[in-house]
Structure formats: C-alpha cells, structure tokens
C-alpha cells in the first residue's frame, strides 16, 4: 500500500485509541470522586501529569480544578492530546485515506467528530458521565466496524499496530495515576482507601471483572502483574506488544523475531524484555521508573516504524490550482 496511506492509517488509529483512553483517564478520577466523596480530597492534577502535558496546562489554566482539567482534556483544541484534538486529527487522517477504509467507518467517525464539536463544555462539567460513555461507545462502534468489515490486509495491520502501541502506552499511564495520586499518609498503604484507588484503576482499564476472574482479590502486586504482564487481557501492555509484533510480522511477511528492519528489531527487543520480567522486578525497580523507561522505549519503536515504512518525503503545498467546479 502507499506509504502515505499507511502512515495516515497508523496515526488515525493511534489518535482514536488516545481519545478513548483520555476518556478512561477522566473516568478513573470521576469514579474516585464518587467513591471518596467530593471536596478538597479531589485530585485533578495527577490526571494532567500522566498525559505528559503538565506544562502546557499550567501555562494557561493555573490551578487544576475539575472543570479546567476536564475542559483541557476533552475540548481544548490547543491541547494536541485532548479528545477533540485527537478526533480532529483522526478524522483528517481518515479523510485522506477514505478509499482504504470501510465507508461506514468514515461515516461513524464523522458523526463522532460532529457530536464532540457540537457539545457545550459547560453542559458536561458536573456530569461528564454521559459524554464519556458516548465517547467510549462511539469508539467501540468504530472498532466493531473495523473488526467486522475490513479485510485483514496491510491497512488493517497498520491500524492494529497503531492502536496496540498507543494502548500499551496508555495502559502504562493509567497505572502511573497511582504514583501521582497521593495517599494521605504512608500508613494508608493497603488501607480501604488504597484498595479503592486500585479498583478505580482497574475499572478505567475495563479490567475490573477480568482481573477478578483470573486473580481474585485486589492486591497492588497482582494489579500491576495483570495490567503489565498478563498474556490474555487485551489491554495489558504485554498483550499489546505481542499483538503489535504479530501485525508487524504480517506486514513484512517475516516470522516474529527474525525480521531485520529497524521496526522489527526495536519491537522484538521490547517485547522479549517482557518475557524476562517478573512483577517483583518491576516493584523493585519502582513502578513509576519502570513505566518511564517503557514509554521511552516505545517512542523508539515508533521512530523505527516511521523509518521503516513511511520514510521522509518533501511535503506538498496546498493545491487550489486544479480541477474545475
């Protein structure tokens, strides 16, 4: 397929996954607020911190209040990682690749975009549930269309790869919330409050139920193990890496682990590292440090994919000079 199209589909997929996950981040906090009661205990700063956009936020909004953080993460078009920005970017990428995507997909994405654009931020400030539900549902619908009506060709694999790498990154950030959300004191570790926080985390990764079925009671170590290393849960970081690698191998036609392109080498490298990591190692290193390192490695994978498939080409200017009305 065309390199330009592959690039656009990869990014479209990443942006959609990102939009969904930002909605999930917000949900963790809303859940926590509900569980713990509103008031000074509400912590909205961590949410901004985990997206990596803390500086951009404080420059324009100063103190992180609920309303400001939600505005910044959902509607702010000057924040390139807000849900609105992600949808805009996903749509622009989809628009230049419409011929490669199922027609219903484009139509649903378009609806999704117009709904968010047409929503008044003031109307959701206190009640974001409905909008967050809608965002997740719209995203599920898009995934369903892709799953049921797109051939498993190159385009699909590029979309998969984008989605899975983005998801691995975002699951790591959901885990990182726990690092930033402060417990009142060290003695609260393992307290009901602590457990509530871990549960909220699982819920926001849609992992609550699957976790319980496979791990039983909630312990921090098991939650980390489940979200980082589980082989079967589709939002765990390892699952995402393994499946991204499978798609990459389908694209190059070379079995997993034996490819020689920069993309294959980097991804295989990162994936195999997970095979030799145990949850105790992670706890020992420090969860936050482990996540930080992982995110840096993931950026290298992304660079390598770009180098391997999309290459650098001169940009073309705008084009008003053709075609007759």
């Amino acid at each position: 397929m065309l390199s330009r199209v592959a690039n656009s589909i990869y990014w479209m997929s990443r942006y959609l996954e990102r939009a969904e996950n930002v909605a999930r981040f917000i949900e963790v906090n809303v859940n926590l607020t509900l569980d713990l009661g509103e008031g000074p205990g509400e912590q909205w700063g961590p949410l901004v911190a985990i997206t990596g956009d803390w500086d951009a936020f404080t420059k324009r909004y100063a103190q992180p209040t609920r309303d400001r953080v939600q505005r910044f993460l959902i509607f702010d078009l000057d924040n390139p990682n807000s849900i609105a920005s992600c949808l805009r970017n996903a749509r622009e990428n989809a628009r230049t690749t419409r011929e490669s995507l199922p027609a219903e997909f484009w139509e649903e994405l378009n609806k999704f975009y117009h709904i968010i654009r047409g929503t008044d931020p003031d109307s959701v400030s206190e009640q974001p549930h409905e909008l967050l539900e809608l965002i997740k549902n719209s995203r599920q619908l898009l995934l369903g269309i892709i799953d049921s009506s797109m051939s498993r060709g190159e385009a699909w694999h590029f979309a998969q790869m984008g989605q899975l790498l983005e998801r691995a990154d975002k699951t790591s950030r959901i885990l990182d919330v726990k690092y930033f959300i402060l417990l009142p004191s060290v003695s609260d570790i393992g307290s009901p409050l602590d457990l509530i926080q871990w549960s909220a985390l699982l819920k926001s990764a849609s992992a609550f139920q699957m976790y319980h079925r496979s791990r039983g009671r909630i312990t921090p170590k098991q939650v980390v193990d489940f979200l980082v290393l589980d082989r079967h849960f589709p939002r765990s970081m390892r699952f995402c890496l393994n499946h991204a690698e499978a798609s990459l191998s389908a694209i190059t036609g070379v079995p997993v682990g034996s490819g020689q392109t920069p993309a294959e080498k980097q991804l295989s490298n990162l994936g195999s590292q997970f095979d030799f990591t145990y949850v105790d190692d992670i706890i020992e290193e420090g969860l936050h440090e482990f996540i930080d390192r992982f995110q840096t490695r993931l950026n290298l994978v992304d660079d390598a994919i770009f180098e391997t498939f999309f290459a650098i080409r001169p940009l073309v200017g705008t084009a008003a000079a053709a075609d007759h009305g």
């Binding site: 065309l2 622009e92 117009h114 080409r313 073309v316 008003a320 000079a321």
Partner: protein, 500 residues
C-alpha cells in the same frame, strides 16, 4: 391541482400559516412564466411528475421539512463536503441538497443521449485532428488562429496518440432547458468535470431519507457509474502482464473536489494518490508503497494539464510528477483525460461545434448550442459591446461560473469594466443571450418555490460511449438567481430519468 380547502384559505401573503394536521399544498406555487420541470403553465403537474406531485400533496405539513433536515444531517455525517477557497484551510461546507427531485422524461432523455453521443464523438475527432494534421483548420471550417491561441491548446501534445484515438474519456456536458422548453448545451467540459459523486450520493441520500417517493416509479439507476469508470480506465491501459493498476491522482485535501476524488477511488477500489506519491522510475510511473515502488498503468488525473509534469508544462507545479509526459509519450502509462482536451473546451471554439459536427460526421447537430457571439471576430465584438446590457459575457477559458457578467443584472460600472476587458483582449470573451433557465420546485422554508436549474450528464468514452442516465441537477438556490455553481450559492437535486 386538488388540495384541501382548509389549507387553501391560509395560502400566503408573506408568511404562510397552516392549520394543524393539514396537508402540503402546491396551490400557491408560482410558475412566473418560466418553463417549470414539474408543472404545466396552468399549474397542473406534467405527466412525468403527476405521481410525485400527488405524493407531496398527501404529505402532512412539516413532513417535507423533516425529510429535508434528515437529508442535511445525513450529508454532514457522510462527510459529503467541499472546501471553500478563500477560507482558512479545513473550512468545510455541505453542498446544499434539495430533496425535491428533478424528473426527466424517457423521451427527452433519449434525445439528450443521442445528442451527447453525436457531440462527443465529433469533439473527440476534432481534438485528434487538431493535434495531428489539422484538416479542419486547413479547410477553414474553424479558424486556425482561434484554435492555436486557445489557452488550453497545448503545443507539447501535438502528434500524441492516446489508445484507440480517445482523448476525452470523461465528459460532463452542461445542459439547460430554455423558456422554449428545448435543451441547449451551455458548456462541454472535456477536462476534469466534477460532480458525479454527488449524483451517486444524492440518490443514496434520497433513498435513505425519502424512500416513499420512489414507490411506483421506474427510475434508471446511477449506482453503477464507478464500475463503468473502472472498466473504461482499465480498457485504456497500455499492455500489461496482469490486470492494470489504476490510480486516481488528486491535488490533495485542500482541493474543492477532494471528496469526489476520494469517493471515486473508494468506489473503484483503487489507490488515491498525490503527485508526491508518484515517481518516474526506469521509464515507468511508479507509486511509493510500504514495500517499495509499484508500477502504475492508468492515471485518472484530477489535476489540470499544465500541472501534470513540471518538466513539460509549468515548472512551478508541485502537484505533478516530473517526467510523467515522457512516459505518456512512450505509451507506458495512460492518462484520462488525455492532456490537451481543453482545446475543445474553449468557449470560442464551442461556438463552432455545429460546424465541427457537420465536418466530421456529415450530420446536423442534435443538441444545439446557445447562440454565441465570439468577440475575437471584430463584427461580433461590436455587436456585443453595443448590446452589453442584454448579453451574458463569459471569459473563454474559465469554468465554475467565474468571471461571468450578466448584462441585464449588472450595474453600469460593471458593464463598463466588462467592455474595457473585452476591448483589451477580445479573444478572451464570448457573449450569449440571457437564458430563461427552467425551474424546479425547491423547498424554501416551509413551502415550495421555483428555482432555476441546469443538468450535467456524465459520459464515459472507452471502448464505446456510455451516458449515465440523469446526471447532476444543479439549482440556483437564491431567488431569481441563474448561477448554479457550488461556489456561488448553488445546490443540487437528485435527477430522475424515467423509463416507460
């Protein structure tokens, strides 16, 4: 027309009020002396529109508006938008669509189709002749000077031999029905006519939002156009080992017709490429793919001739592919349409189409021209200037409705400017009488009013000629306006060709 008395009493004087539960009334619809596609002069529905009129009348008030709103929403969701030049990048608009269809009777359509076949066959022979021996010029049927100084006459195309001698593969002829009820050709559009995607999408939107109006009518389908287009494009391919690779070449996302480029690529299942996706490599045109370069055999190009290849034409073009014309000349890639077809699109050359048809085919023209004064001819030029307040003046090499001066509606200053422009460059202008374009009922707020329309059928010329039944009906939405172009307040309608 039969309408419930209750609504008759409320017929309007400025704002119309309907009693609750009343049906739609067509009684107050005014013909205003124009040819109306739906109604006779006395207000009774034409035979072809009887069923539709009955249905509209039986609809509860407000229902039609609801359908219209549903259609608007569908268009937005389908992302059927065009970008507007002069606005910031990313400004999109839905092209207005009116749910009242325009109906073409079978008999009229047979006549139109015959006329189009004749006209395009002759124009294709003309283009081929002009770039070879120029017999028609030698015989003085069309003035050589007029052809050679046409802005779209391309010297580098002389001697080229596109496969099967077909130059204009895709044509979108603009037709109008004048006050006398006859169809005339307004423009031939042999370069990159756009709009066919709207023909297909309009029909889809109609079926989704207004299905009941289709019942009982036999309407010729338009959905097979992309299939026919692909067939034609594959037919003109140079010899290949396997099935030929077809692509659509677009100037990019900021082009006003980008939606259509992507739509056609999608429906044909081929790649949509930009100039920078293509490269000439070892004598062939190739596209850059994730697994290296892949040969391209046919390019349905939606960029202008002079942007195709910076080495042959405009050196500043960033849209084209350097070296493309060399590959084309060597017969290793096909271009649709062939470069150079624009020469037959020049509005001064247009004036000679009746002679062109007679010269090549020995026949009288079926679909007539609008009477046209060519300012290049000093006598005709004097006539135009003397009657400037009654004529419509058009630049010979523009499309999209740009640069048109409508004498009877223009101010004295605009007319004077136009005269000065004609004097400065007479070759660049033609003039035509003002036409009384036919009208079709169109939804205006809560009722129907007549609005002027044209009709652009689409014709494919590959192995044989194919005329898509119907075409694009463009409608001037502004009251009294005669300009149907999307860039100037035009919208569109579904066009129905009935079978007997």
């Amino acid at each position: 027309m039969s309408a419930p008395a209750s609504s008759r009493e409320n017929v309007w004087d400025g704002a119309r009020l309907f009693p609750p539960g009343a049906s739609m009334s067509l009684d107050s619809y005014q013909g205003d002396g124009f040819y109306d596609e739906m109604f006779e002069a006395d207000g009774t529905p034409r035979p072809r529109a009887r069923l539709l009129a009955q249905r509209l009348e039986s609809m509860p008030i407000g229902d039609l508006q609801r359908r219209q709103k549903a259609a608007d929403r569908t268009l937005l969701n389908m992302g059927i938008t065009f970008s507007v030049y002069g606005h910031s990048a990313g400004t999109e608009k839905v092209w207005p669509f009116d749910v009242i269809p325009r109906i073409v009777e079978a008999e009229d359509w047979r006549y139109i189709e015959r006329g189009l076949r004749q006209r395009i066959t002759a124009l294709n022979l003309f283009i081929d002749d002009v770039y070879h021996d120029g017999k028609i010029l030698r015989d003085g049927v069309v003035p050589r000077e007029l052809v050679h100084n046409a802005a779209c006459f391309l010297e580098p195309c002389a001697g080229l031999n596109p496969p099967n001698g077909v130059w204009c593969h895709i044509v979108g002829t603009d037709l109008v029905r004048n006050g006398d009820g006859r169809f005339y050709v307004l423009e031939d559009n042999l370069r990159c006519p756009s709009g066919v995607s709207y023909v297909i999408e309009n029909r889809e939107v109609m079926k989704r939002t207004f299905p009941q109006v289709f019942a009982g009518l036999r309407i010729l389908p338009v959905e097979d156009y992309p299939e026919r287009l692909l067939e034609m494009l594959q037919h003109v391919a140079p010899p290949t080992n396997g099935p030929p690779t077809v692509v659509v070449l677009t100037p990019g996302i900021y082009n006003s017709a980008y939606f259509e480029h992507s739509f056609l690529a999608q429906r044909m299942g081929v790649e949509l490429v930009e100039g920078s996706d293509l490269v000439v490599h070892e004598g062939f045109v190739c596209m850059r793919t994730t697994s290296g370069l892949q040969r391209v055999d046919v390019i349905y190009r939606r960029i202008d001739d002079t942007f195709l290849d910076p080495r042959t034409f405009r050196p500043d073009s960033a849209l084209g592919v350097p070296g493309l014309m060399d590959v084309y000349r060597a017969g290793r890639v096909a271009l649709a349409n062939a470069p150079g077809t624009g020469v037959a699109d020049d509005k001064a050359v247009y004036a000679y189409v009746p002679q062109i048809v007679r010269y090549y085919l020995g026949e009288d023209i079926i679909l007539e021209n609008v009477p046209t004064h060519v300012c290049w001819d000093p006598k005709q030029c004097d006539h135009v200037i003397a009657n400037i307040d009654q004529l419509v003046v058009k630049p010979t090499n523009e499309s999209g409705g740009y640069g048109i001066m409508i004498g009877p509606k223009a101010s004295a200053e605009e007319r004077a400017q136009c005269v000065a422009a004609i004097r400065a460059n007479p070759r660049n202008y033609i003039a035509q009488p003002m036409l009384a374009l036919s009208r079709v009922p169109t939804i205006v707020e809560d009722h129907l009013e007549g609005r002027h329309v044209d009709l652009r059928p689409y014709i494919l010329y590959g192995k044989e000629l194919f005329v898509l039944p119907g075409g694009l009906t463009r409608v001037a939405l502004r009251k009294g306006s005669l300009v149907v172009n999307s860039s100037q307040g035009g919208g569109s309608k579904d066009s129905w060709v009935l079978t007997e």
